[in-house]
């Protein structure tokens, strides 16, 4: 039984190989990039606009509202990063309705790459907002004693991000594969529907957690925000 789509190899030449993860990742990237390029080619500012432009505007403003509610007051700055994370993971899990498709997020390599992006982006935005010294000082925030624990939490939450997404997507595919051998017809369809729901929830959670981490890193020195 295949645990991840890494083990499904389409093409191999010596050391180089193209497995299902890479193929479907590039396919998704192509569809997302070409789709948004096609839609944004003819943007209108008037009241008459195409349905696709309406859809994209809804998505972008929705993501911006969510980012703002987490506590980042300038969502335009972060929507490029956080929105891309959300759209990629959501597209990867929504596309499971296509037969023969394997979600690339069911591979630990993909989710580790995404989590490493968050791991790099948090200090990047933090330093950009606060300056280097003030950001580094935030690691010793309550007392100097907390320095190792802050560093450990930085690493462990990256691991948790990667394994959470991987486990959720992999378990969906795995449970469907196991159920297909036991109760072949109706039950796997129900589990596929549940898998679509958990895929969307995981995409939301991944991007919201990244937003929360960035928000925690960028408002170190500001007066305590009013928590709702």
């Amino acid at each position: 039984m295949r645990l991840t789509p890494d083990q499904l190899i389409f093409w191999q030449h010596g050391f180089f190989k193209v497995n299902a993860t890479m193929a479907f990742t590039w396919g998704l990237m192509l569809v997302l990039a070409a789709g948004s390029r096609l839609v944004t080619r003819q943007l209108s500012v008037g009241l008459e606009r195409s349905g696709w432009q309406n859809l994209l505007e809804m998505v972008v403003t929705g993501i911006e509202t969510q980012i703002q509610e987490v506590g980042l007051s300038q969502p335009q700055k972060y929507v490029g990063f956080l929105g891309t994370l959300f759209l990629f993971i959501a597209a990867a899990s929504i596309s499971t309705v296509i037969p023969g498709y394997q979600p690339p997020t069911a591979s630990l390599s993909t989710t580790t790459a995404l989590a490493l992006c968050v791991f790099v982006a948090v200090p990047f935005f933090g330093i950009e907002e606060e300056g280097l010294g003030s950001y580094l000082k935030s690691y010793t925030k309550p007392t100097l004693l907390m320095l190792p624990f802050n560093i450990i939490s930085e690493l462990s939450r990256t691991l948790a991000l990667a394994v959470r997404l991987f486990g959720n997507m992999m378990s969906g595919a795995m449970i469907i594969a196991i159920l297909l051998t036991i109760t072949p017809f109706l039950f796997p369809i129900l589990m596929t529907m549940l898998g679509l729901l958990t895929g969307m929830v995981q995409a939301y959670i991944f991007s919201i957690l990244a937003a929360v981490y960035i928000a925690a890193a960028t408002r170190v020195r500001k007066p305590k925000a009013v928590t709702p």
Partner: protein
């Protein structure tokens, strides 16, 4: 009982134990979290957006513990490193 059988038995038993024991804690915790969130939703329907978002993030945190257990049991059953090692040793003999 030779080495291979012992590794197989230990992996399968521990794989089952991992997921069954590891599901107890997160299940109780998620039930508590959802029950509390429902209570506060009933008391303050205006704050539903904040409560729902916090609930989802918290549920993801809690659920990840169960997911870790699931990943460990899947590794034990389908991608066991000790099993592969023992197979390679038997084949090499």
């Amino acid at each position: 009982m030779d080495n291979l059988t012992m590794i197989a038995v230990a992996s399968i038993v521990i794989g089952g134990l991992t997921i069954s024991l590891g599901a107890i804690g997160p299940a109780l915790a998620e039930g508590r979290a959802v029950a509390t969130a429902l209570t506060s939703l009933a008391q303050q329907p205006d704050a539903s957006a904040t409560i729902t978002r916090t609930l989802f993030v918290g549920l993801a945190m809690i659920e990840s513990i169960a997911i870790y257990c699931f990943v460990v049991s899947m590794i034990l059953i389908f991608a066991n490193p000790f099993w592969n090692h023992a197979i390679a040793q038997t084949a090499g003999k």
